[in-house]
Symmetry: C2
Subunit: 317 residues, 2 copies
């Protein structure tokens, strides 16, 4: 009898990735489309359906028993709908029902992308073995998820751990979400790059003004680039310390493109955390880079869908 599989979808503002995932988190088949994020909702859905069709063309599709979706948020897992900030064509979009129809009626589980990444890090990454963990994805946006008392804490609608829209500067700059001074408004990649530019950093001959280019400059010792990452690190530290004060954490796991900057982010992050996380029960909190890598979204979606290795063993044939 063949091993049962889960089909996983990782839906973001840039790409829609899909995979067939086995019991141990191995990825057997992949498919991928760019997200037509500025198009209408049906056009975006067509890209999702193309990814599913490509997966369904694989012979192993017959072993797929469920579909897991990690989507850019906010999501509403209770109602099966999504309203991703970066995909305006989807507002209360019935993604769960549409994916169910496109996958031959298989059961579908929906979580936010931050929760998916957290499921992956807790299953196979840096949060493994930790009962109280916050996992962050720091890239264009800032997402996250929580493990509390050893279990994924999704909240009723699947959005818990939404650290990107925690305000750490109540008088700060307006955020796209409508609030102000949010962690994402300071530590998201485009905001790091803008801060560097505003303070006089200039890109190299290639004209690259991404956060990655600012990170390269910081590694080369550019003080303005270093200061931009230090500011992002402070915002992340304040947000992580806030989470620790609210739920008690023993580890914070930081992944995503901006975390790829490495030491220029992690060194000031650990320094700032000592400044903000002062109470006895939060002082020993450690911060580590994520391990699950770019497949975290897919692995986490698979884990959230029951996780191939979490279901009871199949009965003998």
């Amino acid at each position: 009898m063949p091993t049962e599989l889960v089909a996983a979808l990782d839906i973001g503002g840039t790409k829609i990735a899909g995979a067939l995932v086995d019991r141990r988190g191995g990825i057997l088949v992949r498919a991928r489309r760019p997200t037509p994020a500025r198009e209408d909702g049906e056009t975006v859905m067509r890209a999702v359906e193309e990814v599913l069709a490509e997966l369904a063309a694989a012979p192993r599709w017959a072993s797929v028993r469920a579909v897991g979706i990690g989507s850019a948020g906010p999501v509403d897992a209770a109602r099966g709908v999504v309203s991703p900030v970066n995909i305006p064509g989807w507002r209360d979009y019935p993604l769960v029902e549409r994916v169910r129809r496109a996958s031959g009626g298989r059961p579908v589980t929906l979580v936010g992308d931050g929760v998916a990444m957290t499921a992956a890090e807790h299953w196979r990454g840096a949060a493994r073995g930790h009962d109280n963990a916050l996992c962050l994805v720091v890239s264009t946006g800032v997402g996250g998820g929580l493990v509390l008392d050893g279990k994924l804490h999704t909240g009723p609608t699947g959005n818990a751990g939404h650290i990107g829209h925690v305000s750490v500067d109540l008088d700060g700059d307006p955020c796209a979400c409508g609030s102000r001074g949010c962690v994402e408004r300071i530590a998201g990649g485009p905001h790091i790059a803008r801060r560097a530019l505003d303070n006089g950093w200039r890109p190299g001959p290639d004209g690259d003004v991404s956060a990655a280019a600012v990170a390269a400059a910081a590694h080369a010792g550019d003080p303005v680039a270093l200061a931009a990452f230090e500011r992002a690190a402070r915002a992340l530290a304040a947000g992580i310390a806030a989470t620790a004060a609210l739920v008690e954490l023993d580890i914070a796991v930081v992944g995503g493109g901006v975390a790829g900057a490495g030491g220029v982010l992690f060194a000031p992050l650990r320094r700032s955390l000592r400044e903000y996380a002062t109470l006895s029960f939060v002082r020993d909190l450690t911060v580590v880079p994520a391990l699950a890598g770019t497949d975290a979204g897919l692995l986490g979606a698979a884990a959230a869908a029951g996780g191939p290795d979490r279901e009871p063993a199949a009965p003998a044939a």
Copy 2:
């Protein structure tokens, strides 16, 4: 056979309250001392012992089977010690063992005061029937506690829900905890009063410069007093919105002496919450005053100690 009772202690930076509490949350005997918060640890402990001695003088003391303590935090429930920010003489102070000795060896349960208040509000107050709630105590300090998925979430050391030391202003004023811009540093009673004084408010002939006096001035329309409460409300709103983004909440319950200011706090709090809690899954969050009143700390300490109404019925004589 007489009903069994619990002795409850509510220990804060201003007062030490004690009571004998029955199975239904009725308070039968009370005792109270001011907290000698600036004195050495043994002097503070003497005040606790005096409260216990007064309770022990009551004939019903013989029916007390356990002691519950709600203490200003941080506490360490796992080790039985406390280090309240506002009681410098107590650092890793072995409160559980000292109270056990002072109560004839009865079993002692320790929780943070915010967790105690939350237990009371979830048991008999405004959070009753809510599965995801944040309860706040806003007085000299700002404490809190969480109900998640229908259960009290204490965290491993009993400090979860510590909203007072969530930084909502990462560049803000230094807080007694060592961090900066904490909710308590802005919304705690003495900080409200200081802000009003710094901005030109002057007390009446009685010289009362408490937050309650500022509240009275605010009710009379004093713009500086109103602004001081509005600032506190903004900090509380940012902290409540942060908590909702992190764990998903359906209600926030606000109690404590400063909450007694009523509309001059709650009106700007609800207004500010609309500004900070913008995401779809936090937008419907409601804020209500606590119901358990000034006895919340005592009732919650009793509830945490097994709760007189939570133990199995006494066997028939």
